[in-house]
């Protein structure tokens, strides 16, 4: 099969590294060649964070470029808007409805764009808004938004639920496993 590209975007501290690890694991279990590319360090301090997951029979470059992502998973609205140029024609965006003001908005230097989802609609973008924060809090912790989104992602990929749960078990510390399983289920049920 052709190489597929997934991009995970969010704000430093939202848990995008865990999300990419779960996806990477589950794809590896399906026998694909997988590459996951992360950026650590400076970008993690509340800045925009981008992670790439690529899989297929053969994967060369670990990075995803503009116009190449089959799927974008976003933890925050503005980051979804920022990542749009990376979406392949016909690709899908799954995005949390959460909004986090970046510092230039906090200081009043600029405004947070109000109508991101409307603009997506006008452009005919295939996108799925998810109230991930609320569902995560329902599961027991706001921090589990990432795994709620994995629940939604799992409904869009042709991989058994059991496989996803196995991958979550491998990637999440034991004491948070139940919480994350619940978050995953809530994500699955919402779509």
């Amino acid at each position: 099969m052709d190489t597929k590209s997934i991009m995970i975007v969010g704000v430093g501290g939202q848990g995008s590294l865990l999300a990419s690890r779960i996806i990477g694991h589950v794809l590896l279990m399906q026998g694909y060649e997988v590459k996951v590319s992360e950026v650590h360090g400076m970008s993690q301090r509340g800045g925009s964070v981008v992670t790439y997951v690529k899989y297929g029979d053969k994967v060369y470059s670990p990075v995803v470029e503009k116009g190449e992502a089959d799927l974008i998973v976003s933890f925050e609205q503005l980051e979804a808007a920022r990542s749009l140029p990376y979406l392949k024609k016909g690709g899908t965006i799954i995005t949390s409805t959460q909004k986090l003001d970046p510092m230039p908005v906090i200081t009043g230097a600029t405004k947070y764009p109000e109508d991101i989802f409307n603009q997506f609609r006008d452009l005919g973008i295939n996108f799925i808004p998810v109230n991930a924060l609320q569902l995560a809090e329902e599961a027991g912790s706001a921090k589990a938004s990432n795994v709620v989104l994995m629940g939604v992602v799992s409904t869009k990929m042709d991989i058994d639920k059991e496989e996803w749960l196995k991958a979550i078990e491998e990637c999440v510390p034991a004491k948070f496993l139940e919480l994350n399983k619940k978050a995953f289920e809530l994500g699955r049920e919402c779509y």
């Binding site: 800045g47 060369y60 990075v63 906090i106 009043g108 764009p113």
Partner: protein, 572 residues
């Protein structure tokens, strides 16, 4: 067994499998996880050294004693460790000595974009460059073989995309490599002029042999395809080229980037009408090709700046660009910020409020330079805050009353101490603030000599910063809690006023440390007058919603600085 591994994790696995016994490193993105991962193997002794020079010297000592040894660092770390490296090139090794240097094209987390291959060429040490995690592991093992066979340290060059990408690795068992015998050998190991002259002759002979190694090495690969185009490349750039150009061109993929093979490059170039050299940062391969009389195209197309990618290569060589959609609206940037509850914030707020000139340093606190605090004037390299302030004050003595240096605990141990000695010894009335958050923060929480724990998590000797500063010749040393704004500001103004050098230790652990207990999140109430004083802190948890200040309960850790600042008791 196949596993998905970060390039850095694969490096650690390579060290383990190759029988490496002693590891000493200093953290630096994107190299840090190599040492963190290798520390998980009981068979390997691993430590964080106070800086890269110390780490390199520890590894050299262990190699001389007969052990396979290692030190790892980021690109700028190799500048610090260059002194021992250039002479270890002369002494050579006993047990194999491998050095990791991680370059950061695109400067995701660095202060410059230097190309470490220059250090390999200048120190006459071989350098290998893998392109994915499996190659990382294989190249590390090959590096030890080359090190011991040719009596030389070997550098393995990583880059952000290799270090921080996960790909599949086939895991093997550890090879049991016994210590080599230690025999006293001053001609080889005591580098004074008479002995070093002899060793320089050896180094030049070794380079000739290493070129022969490069001509026949399995690490330099040729992939022949149809067509009249050849591509010479290395590392992650090879993967970008493969994705962009596939089998439409032929490849010379160089796994050994120093020294470069002459015969292979010439014969490869002869086969094609057009040869492109695709390399990130400097034109090292291209220059060598041109020196060998090969007509190649390189930097005129790709330039010297930033990362390359499959898109850039596609566009430059095939003239094809990928279509994409973007919103018409301007999208605000999201720069990194100091976290909610960051102990550095109180210090920077006080400095900004009093319009102090701030000589900055390398760490999370470099973010004090960002909006809205803008409380930093200079940042150069590790330790330069303190020594730079001394120079600044020598040039402008009147600035002693309005300028400070800020430096983190780990950076102070790395190379701040010597600058402080200079302030005491050559006397300026400089004020130095040590931002002691009890951890090495920016690289992801590594222990250092001031934390009381070592890399393996065991209790270790703890440097007493107050006593250390006094011992270095500074009599005025005081400690403040940066969550207490009034106390912090008072200390800064008092120490600036006195006619003596002084150190203020701003002490409060990083808010992200697991053992740090957070207070319940704060809330704003109806007393808010929309004065926006709290926004001046640059706290990511505080924003304006509907004209009033609002605190995000998922981010707030209840540090209370904003509460101290609010004149209307609107935060509780």
């Amino acid at each position: 067994m196949k596993k998905l591994m970060l390039g850095n994790e694969a490096f650690a696995r390579g060290l383990y499998e190759a029988g490496c016994k002693v590891v000493s490193s200093y953290p630096g993105t994107p190299s840090t996880e190599i040492t963190e991962e290798v520390a998980k193997y009981e068979e390997v002794y691993a430590e964080w050294a106070p800086n890269e020079k110390v780490a390199m010297e520890v590894a050299i000592g262990a190699s001389m004693a007969g052990a396979r040894s290692f030190c790892g660092m980021k690109h700028v770390g190799l500048n610090v460790a260059a002194d021992p490296l250039y002479t270890a090139s002369y002494t050579g090794v006993n047990g194999g000595l491998v050095i990791a240097v991680a370059d950061d094209p695109g400067m995701h987390s660095s202060q410059n974009e230097q190309d470490s291959r220059h250090h390999a060429a200048a120190s006459k040490v071989p350098m290998l460059e893998p392109s994915d995690s499996q190659e990382v592991k294989d190249f590390v093992k090959e590096a030890y073989r080359i090190s011991e066979e040719y009596d030389t340290p070997v550098i393995v060059r990583m880059s952000t995309r290799v270090a921080h990408s996960q790909s599949v690795v086939d895991v093997c068992e550890r090879e049991d490599i016994p210590l080599k015998e230690y025999v006293k050998n001053p001609q080889k190991n005591v580098m004074m002029p008479a002995n070093a002259r002899g060793r320089h002759v050896f180094v030049e002979e070794r380079t000739k042999k290493l070129i022969q190694e490069a001509e026949t090495s399995i690490l330099n690969k040729i992939e022949m395809n149809d067509g009249q185009i050849g591509v010479i490349t290395s590392g992650t750039t090879y993967l970008y080229a493969k994705e962009a150009l596939g089998d439409s061109v032929s490849y010379l993929k160089l796994g050994i980037v120093n020294p470069l093979p002459s015969y292979i490059i010439r014969s490869f170039c002869k086969k094609f009408e057009t040869v492109y050299v695709i390399e990130e940062l400097d034109d090292i391969i291209e220059t060598q090709c041109k020196k060998l009389g090969c007509d190649v195209i390189g930097k005129e197309l790709f330039g010297f700046i930033g990362e390359l990618s499959q898109s850039i290569i596609k566009e430059k060589i095939k003239g094809v660009s990928t279509e994409y959609t973007a919103l018409q609206t301007e999208i605000p940037v999201r720069p990194p910020v100091m976290c909610a509850g960051c102990p550095h914030r109180g210090v920077f707020y006080s400095l900004a409020k009093n319009k102090i000139t701030v000589s900055g340093d390398i760490g999370c606190y470099t973010l004090g330079a960002a909006q809205p605090l803008c409380a930093m004037d200079t940042t150069v390299c590790m330790g330069a805050s303190i020594s730079g302030l001394h120079g600044f004050n020598k040039a402008r003595p009147e600035k002693e009353k309005t300028s400070v240096a800020v430096i983190g605990d780990s950076t102070f141990m790395h190379s701040g101490m010597t600058g402080l000695v200079n302030i005491a010894y050559n006397s300026t009335n400089s004020t130095v603030i040590i931002l002691d958050n009890s951890i090495t923060g920016m690289t992801g929480h590594q222990q250092n000599p001031t934390t009381g724990y070592n890399l393996k998590g065991d209790v270790a000797a703890k440097v007493d910063l107050e006593a250390l500063c006094r011992a270095l010749g500074i009599e005025r040393v005081r400690v403040v809690d940066p969550y207490n704004l009034a106390e912090t500001e008072k200390a800064i103004l008092e120490e600036l006023a006195v006619e003596a050098p002084s150190v203020i230790i701003s002490r409060r652990p990083c808010a992200l440390l697991k053992y740090v207990k957070h207070n319940p999140p704060l809330k704003t109430n109806e007393k808010c007058k929309s004065c926006k004083a709290c926004l001046k802190l640059g706290c990511p948890a505080i924003s304006i919603k509907g004209g009033k200040a609002c605190i995000d309960h998922t981010l707030c850790v209840g540090c209370g600085i904003c509460k101290e600042l609010c004149k209307f008791d609107a935060i509780e």
